[in-house]
Amino acid sequence: MPVRRIEPAADYGRLFDEVKGRLAGDPRRREASFARFRELGFPNQRAEAWKYTSLKSLAENAPPAPAPVEVTLADLEPYLLTGDVKRLVFVNGFMAPELSDIEGLPAGLTVASFDERVTHEGALLADADAERSLTALNAAMAHGGAVVEVADGTDVSPTLQLVFVQAGDAGGMANPRNVVRVGAGAKLTMAETWVALGVAGVTNVVNDFDVAEAGELTVDKLQFGRGRATLIGRSAMRVAQEGRLAQTTVTAGGGLVRNETFARLEGPKADLDLNGAYMPVKGEHVDTSIRIEHRAPDCPSNQFYKGILAPGGHGVFAGKIFVDQVAQRTNAYQQNDNLMLARDAEIDTKPELEIYADDVKCSHGATVGELDDVGLFYLRSRGIDKETAQAILTFAFAGEVIERLAHEDSRHQARRALLARLAGGEKLAELV
């Protein structure tokens, strides 16, 4: 068997020793998870799921322990949602009450910090997927994050925003964990925002989303990285009968961003909708990895991802639809379109199907190309300069995904971030 792991640097032991004093919950459980992480090691690029993304540097250089850093509301203002919003902010994994606002939550909605809850509920740390080393690492050091519960039948009106801030240039490692449980027939709209204010640091987040029968969860996932800031995220999703989960991810920046989604449709007519746009520029690497399991009949699932590859950007998309033998009448669709803006960009895409039921409609498509000459010519012939014409077409290309964000402010933020990354984007400011 070829070797598919990288031995984590000895310094990870040092990191664990430094942080363990402040970890909530059963210390033996933490030790066991850490031992498990060491045993698994980091995956190398011979591991199929990491074929195009290297963790070598992370494996060989353990980041320092995270420290609280002063951040003001003004620093975060461009990334916050306004209007009817409740908010929980974490800075380097530490909850920041002065930046948060969870006063007066509506009846039926409970929001608690993960650390507070894990003290009484050790099971929250249970490894959903024990084979994933980064989850084990998170389980060992999980600190920060939220536990959100919506009682059966509750339609939550405010949008709940969870903000994870990486601040300072010291480059610490945060391991937040979020648990979201939407009760039967309940409804919740959330935003999960990742902001790097500093140019270094690592966030290794694990999300656990549960949607009960006929429940509905909508998630706007916005990622604003910079420099070498690294985000590795894993969302486990379970959707019960007639439940619905819709998530739209927009990634604007980050030295290394890896978004993993592992979703299971567990009851008949459970519905899953995953959308995403990524736009890596020079030196950035954005990797989207999805596995959707259809474990019950009559479930629709939909993946719609778009990539814009600017000079020096590297995009990776691997989406898999798995259809179990019992999942008859599955209707699964997957589309990944990529726009290459420049010569030294790279896109690696792998849309995958694994099907064991015969009465299904499953299709996928993937495209890679540059901007359409005809469209460019049309705009140029109307007196629009080349750069602006390119920006308009690119903006429209990403627009199809951005429109699917639930909150109006999410859409504005995503458009603004996109234009800031496009040559000539400043001329389109009025479109934000």
């Binding site: 690696d348 792998k350 849309p351 498509g365 540059e370």
Partner: protein
């Protein structure tokens, strides 16, 4: 009215009809793999020193490798020491004419429906017959010679055209390319060699028929086809094996080289013994096939109809090096009962304006599992590269699987790459439509399946198309359990 599934079940009657064994005297090498065996094979074939060394070098690389495990089918570890690497029908001397061939071997080929007779001239096909490890006959050599075309067994080519063999052998699939290719490079016994000189359009289809007969052996043939500038050749490959309870390994290497403006069309109808319904026995078909479009405006086209083998694991590929070169891959793969297939192609775009097209149709029935795995890679310099991939799967019954794993890697912004894939079953509507017009249930299933695969079948040379069509129907017989 019977359902589609029942119809497919009723469709039984035929099982593998090439499962007989011919009792002829054969010469074996002892089981095992080591330097001695490699020298033995090389000596047996009176090979020059450089080739012996080439084999030994391949073996050295092979020893540093491990059996790959990334594939979808469950292969298990194969004990390569338990195979005899050389089995040849015993002959005192090489046959001088077709009449000298052992009548048993001739009868074998006749049973297969491929008489070793000059009457093939009518069909316009020249054939090289490979029986276990060695080529037993090649027809039409003389006629081809007049045009300067070399068509012979690779052993013969090593003796008579060493400069060509030395120049091209391993130039597309190097010795250390992969585990099974390295093994093949070390122990290959025979295969076909084709050289088409500049500007010559080969007037007939060239064909090789492979047959594994002996027990406890593997077949490791090596095929090398070189199309010089402006030439054209169409090559057909067919294969069968007797019905046996142990697995037999077929690890061939096929290398194609197309120079400027040359075109090679390579068609395969693969009908190795698929094993019993519960997966006992059957051939492991682990073949490395790769074509190099070295010249400008060259073209290589792979067409395959895969109906046999317990496990099919291969990716006929094109390396599009010359500017404006073109690669094509058309595939129909049928898996039934316990068969497994992990097949597809790789298109590597290196030159400017290179184009590739992939059409893959997979049909899965019974407990079978089938995977399309493909790679389209566009390198930095491949300006205006184009690829279109279409990949459709059909499932018959709810116990089988169909999987699609395409990889697309692009480093050039002017490239246009498109991939689409669908998965479906035989629709009741289609069957009803046919039934309403008086077409019997089984004919309707055959019609729908043939229609599904038609885009690929159309690419097959006439000779093969008829056989392939029949094979499709037969392979689905006795399907769902």
């Amino acid at each position: 009215m019977a359902t589609a599934l029942e119809t497919v079940q009723e469709y039984t009657g035929h099982e593998y009809k090439y499962g007989f064994y011919t009792d002829i005297e054969a010469e074996y090498a002892p089981k095992g793999l080591n330097d001695e065996i490699i020298r033995f094979i090389s000596a047996k074939k009176s090979e020059p020193e450089w080739l012996t060394e080439w084999r030994l070098e391949a073996y050295r690389r092979f020893q540093d490798m491990e059996q790959p495990d990334w594939q979808k089918p469950n292969v298990g570890w194969i004990d390569l020491q338990d195979i005899s690497y050389y089995a040849a029908p015993k002959q005192d001397e090489a046959p001088q004419s077709l009449d000298d061939i052992d009548p048993e071997i001739r009868r074998t080929y006749e049973k297969l429906g491929i008489p070793i007779e000059e009457q093939k001239m009518l069909a316009g096909v020249a054939v090289d017959y490979v029986f276990d490890s060695v080529s037993v006959a090649t027809t039409f050599k003389e006629k081809l010679k007049e045009l300067g075309i070399i068509f012979c067994s690779i052993s013969e080519a090593v003796q008579e055209h060493p400069e060509l063999v030395r120049k091209y052998l391993g130039s597309v699939v190097p010795q250390g390319d992969n585990y099974f290719a390295a093994l093949n490079s070390a122990v290959f016994t025979d295969g076909s060699f084709v050289y088409v000189p500049k500007g010559v359009r080969c007037p007939m289809e060239l064909s090789t028929y492979f047959r594994i007969n002996a027990a406890g052996t593997g077949q490791f043939e090596r095929t090398l086809i070189v199309a010089d500038e402006g030439s054209y050749v169409s090559y057909l490959e067919g294969c069968t094996a007797p019905q046996r309870d142990e697995h037999q390994l077929h690890a061939a290497v096929v290398e194609l080289i197309a120079l400027d403006d040359a075109e090679i069309k390579y068609s395969t109808v693969q009908n190795w013994y698929p094993g019993g319904h519960d997966g006992q026995g059957g051939v492991y078909n682990f073949v490395t096939k790769r074509g190099l479009c070295r010249g400008k405006r060259s073209k290589i086209s792979w067409t395959q109809v895969e109906t046999g083998s317990a496990i099919t694991w291969k990716y006929p590929s094109c390396v599009l090096q010359g500017d404006d070169s073109m690669g094509e891959f058309y595939s129909v793969a049928v898996t039934n009962h316990a068969q497994q297939a992990d097949t597809g192609t790789k298109m590597i775009h290196i030159g400017k304006n290179t184009r590739s097209r992939i059409v893959s149709k997979g049909i899965s029935a019974g407990h079978a599992d089938q995977t399309y795995r493909g790679l389209v890679r566009v390198l930095k310099g491949a300006e205006n590269a184009r690829n279109h991939t279409q990949c459709d799967s059909m499932l018959i019954g709810d116990r089988c699987g169909a999987h699609t794993v395409p990889y697309i890697e692009t480093k050039n912004p002017t490239a246009k790459v498109e991939h689409e894939a669908t998965t479906s079953k035989i629709s009741d509507d289609q069957l009803f439509y046919c039934r309403a017009r008086g077409i019997s249930e089984e004919d309707a299933v055959a019609l729908v399946v043939n229609g599904f695969a038609r885009e690929v079948m159309d690419e097959l040379p006439m000779e093969f198309a008829v056989e392939a069509k029949k094979l499709l129907a037969i392979s689905l017989e006795g399907s769902v359990g």
